[in-house]
């Protein structure tokens, strides 16, 4: 063609001829912009390929751009050697070629692999200029073929950030992000939740199936859960999506997968809500949004808890600083009114108790205690608050109060849930609201629990202090009583020995008193020494194995004489060991001297308080045959029921002659051996006392034939 014009050629053959002519006639350059289907034609259609190669040989500069994908990648690689520059552009749809003199545009319905059926050719200068601009515009957006090939072959996604306004495209992109994810985190506004449910519930379900097969790491959603979206949340939870609640989310929804982020920004435009979507696979955006999501997730509340909160009307957790003192007073009043199970009150000074009484709080605590709540108060106890102490003691004796030290703050912990702490600013103020400074109030379980531990620590410390004080008092009492007991026989000895010279004719009587008191003194001091050893836990036992049946007869012999003197022969001392065969040994591992001391103590007591009848010493074993039971039974005056409970305590005595320490020491000796000791009334005879003790028997006791078990 020589004249200037634009023409259309029809038919595949014509189209091919036109293209070939174009290629062969070009002298300096060709710019080609074609869709992804054309590279295969350029290689597979031999004549076309030859034309390209020939143009190259002639020095024609070939710039070729197309969409390189995995379908045409091999063709494109070959093309690279056939053209000067091959570059890639996403989504090229049309085809055209430009030389210095002509413009060629094959028109084709998109059938891959088919040559065009018609073609436009033009040599109109203006048209060619115009299309040159179009080409340059497209060329400037291309990337080198090598990069694109690398991306395809190595699966590297190109780093890019785009903004999409088209709502259909937005849906497509989010869908693709979701489908291609290996994990997915979404932070959604309530609008975003609805949107997600409408368009993506199905793909989400597919991902959850993949998760169950172990092919996906799962979906996590963050949103503001309220009673409007409660049902939707439950649906999502059931399907397997993990959800947490975060209140006060900004009006922005975003999703982060392992590959991409998508952020939607909603804005009002012309009275409508318009969305744009920011998409990026750049690593710094991924990192940023991932960490934003993670931070929100860690601060979120599990959906189940949040649902429970909403459904049961439980209020959200808070931790507040209260600056309005009147408000703080009211909060404390309400808190203490609501006590159901437990109230722990730690007061900073004595007047604090008076101040909270003024607010009616003490009365609330009294009511709570009477209704079964546990109330514990630590408070400095002085005359200042003694009246209120009395009020508490009289009206709710279940409330426990311990003396505390002065402190700069007060604490109130109610029912393991509510906590209030008030700084004490004006210790002497009359009103609570005037006395307090900074107030902190919380209903967080964790807060209440940790301060409850603090309170219990303080409580235990206070109890320890009280115990120590008591022990100290008891110690002082013991010393003074012991001293008192010692002074009496000393006075008798001292006084009586002074009288010897006045009453030479009464020497025997005087000496008898002196000697009796000297013995008493000796026994008393031995007992006191034992008692102090027991108290300081330094009483040492020298254990040996011996047959207790050998020990007893010797003691009995000693006492048979004494009993004759003391009771004028009116009391019989009986030792019952007929139950056992003579060779039956009862081996115990014990301190012989001390066991002797115990039995002697029991016998002396019986002798002292029995005027007629008998004293019976009995020995037996228990059913399991691992304990010896020794019993001393008398028909004496018995034990006053008032004394019974304290019988084995220090300085309990039925007489003036005793030290009051005998049974105390006996009990300790027996218990140190691992035995028990106890006393009862002699019900059998209707008068008198029965005291028994046990001792563990050594395991290798010999039970010969004929040996019988006594009453166990």
């Amino acid at each position: 063609m020589i004249k200037e014009g634009t023409e259309i050629f029809y038919g595949i053959d014509n189209v091919m001829n036109t293209v070939l002519k174009f290629l062969y006639q070009t002298r300096s350059k060709i710019d080609a912009c074609v869709d992804y289907t054309r590279p295969s034609l350029a290689i597979d259609i031999v004549i076309l390929k030859r034309a390209f190669l020939d143009a190259r040989k002639r020095g024609v500069k070939l710039r070729y751009t197309t969409e390189i994908n995995k379908d045409n990648i091999s063709y494109c690689k070959q093309l690279m050697s056939m053209v000067d520059e091959l570059r890639h552009l996403d989504g090229i749809k049309g085809n055209f070629y430009i030389s210095e003199t002509g413009y060629l545009a094959p028109a084709t319905l998109h059938e891959a692999g088919e040559p065009a059926a018609q073609i436009i050719y033009s040599n109109v200068k203006e048209l060619i200029e115009h299309q040159k601009y179009v080409f340059e515009t497209l060329w400037s957006k291309t990337i080198p073929a090598e990069q694109r090939i690398r991306e395809i072959e190595e699966g590297i996604a190109r780093c890019e950030t785009v903004i999409i306004d088209n709502s259909d495209e937005i849906i497509r992109e989010i869908y693709s992000l979701t489908a291609s994810s290996n994990k997915l985190d979404m932070c959604l506004t309530s609008g975003g939740m609805q949107y997600s449910h409408k368009y993506f519930f199905d793909i989400n379900k597919k991902l959850l199936d993949k998760q169950r097969r172990g092919e996906h790491k799962g979906l996590r959603y963050i949103t503001n859960i309220d009673n409007k979206n409660l049902e939707l949340i439950k649906l999502y939870l059931k399907s397997g999506i993990k959800i947490r609640h975060v209140g006060n989310l900004p009006p922005m929804s975003f999703g982060v997968s392992d590959k991409k982020i998508a952020v939607t920004i909603e804005k009002m435009e012309d009275g409508k809500v318009v969305q744009s979507l920011l998409l990026s696979n750049e690593s710094q955006y991924l990192k940023h949004f991932s960490s934003v999501f993670q931070r929100l997730w860690e601060n979120g509340i599990e959906a189940i808890e949040r649902i429970q909160e909403i459904e049961e009307g439980i209020e959200a957790e808070f931790y507040k600083v209260i600056t309005d003192n009147e408000k703080a007073s009211q909060i404390l009043i309400d808190m203490t009114k609501s006590v159901r199970r437990k109230a722990l009150i730690f007061l900073p000074n004595d007047k604090a108790l008076v101040r909270i009484d003024r607010l009616g709080i003490v009365d609330s605590l009294l009511t709570a205690s009477r209704n079964g709540a546990e109330v514990k108060i630590i408070c400095p106890l002085t005359d200042e608050n003694s009246e209120i102490q009395r009020k508490i003691l009289e009206n709710a004796p279940g409330i426990r109060i311990l003396d505390g030290n002065i402190s700069p703050y007060g604490m109130y912990i109610i029912d393991h849930e509510k906590f209030l702490r008030a700084e004490l600013k004006k210790p002497k103020a009359d009103k609570f609201s005037d006395a307090i400074g900074l107030v902190v109030y919380s209903n967080r379980k964790t807060t209440a629990d940790s301060f409850e531990s603090v309170f219990e620590l303080l409580w235990n410390e206070r109890i320890l202090v009280e115990e120590l004080k008591k022990a100290d008092t008891m110690q002082k009492e013991f010393i003074s009583i012991a001293a008192h007991e010692l002074k009496t026989p000393i006075q008798a000895i001292l006084g009586m020995s002074g009288l010897l010279k006045y009453y030479p004719e009464k020497t025997d009587q005087v000496i008898e008193v002196i000697s009796r008191n000297a013995i008493r003194l000796q026994r008393l001091s031995a007992h006191i020494l034992d008692a102090t050893r027991i108290e300081s836990q330094t009483l040492k036992l020298e254990k040996e194995r011996f047959n207790i049946r050998d020990l007893i007869p010797t003691i009995i012999e000693d006492y048979k004489e004494r009993i004759k003197d003391n009771t004028n022969d009116r009391v019989e001392l009986i030792y019952n060991d007929d139950d056992f065969n003579i060779s039956h040994t009862l081996i115990v591992e014990a301190d012989r001297e001390r066991i002797n001391q115990v039995i002697s103590n029991l016998l002396s007591n019986s002798i002292q308080f029995t005027n007629n009848g008998y004293i019976l010493l009995d020995i037996a074993t228990n059913d399991q045959n691992n304990e010896v039971i020794v019993t001393v039974r008398d028909t004496g005056i018995g034990i006053n029921p008032e004394i019974m409970p304290r019988l084995f305590s220090k300085f309990v005595t039925r007489s003036q002659q005793g030290t009051g320490l005998g049974l105390f020491i006996s009990k300790n000796i027996i218990e140190s051996h691992g035995g028990k000791i106890w006393a009862e009334n002699n019900v059998l005879e209707g008068r008198g006392t029965v005291i028994s003790f046990t001792l563990p028997m050594a395991p290798e006791n010999v039970i010969k034939e004929g040996g019988k078990e006594g009453r166990g």
């Binding site: 002082k476 001293a483 009496t488 006075q491 008798a492």
Partner: protein, 128 residues
Amino acid sequence: MNEEIVRKRILVVDDESDLTLFYRMSLEYHGFEVEAFNDPRKALSNFKADYFDLIILDIKMPSMDGFELFTEIRKRDKNVKVCFLTASELYYKEFRMKEYSALDKSLFIRKPIGNEEMLKEIYRLIKA
């Protein structure tokens, strides 16, 4: 007419019989007329007002302590001299301080005490 020697009369109450024996023997030797009781209640039921020159009371006794006995005696005899003979350190301090602070410290004789010394105290108290 013979000069009547009026013997001073002393009442002693102490739950320990060895001690009352000692007091009686010692005081009688020195010319006192002695009435001694181990049971405070018996002492009260046999009490003679305006009779004794001195009453000596133990403090720590099982049925009634010395101070209670003292109060009862005072009800019956406003003027008789009473002193306390005691081994009890703790009670001495506490009771005296709290309830009976009006009682003169010199009225307390601490056990154990030797013969001579006890006599000296008694003479002093009677003369006072």
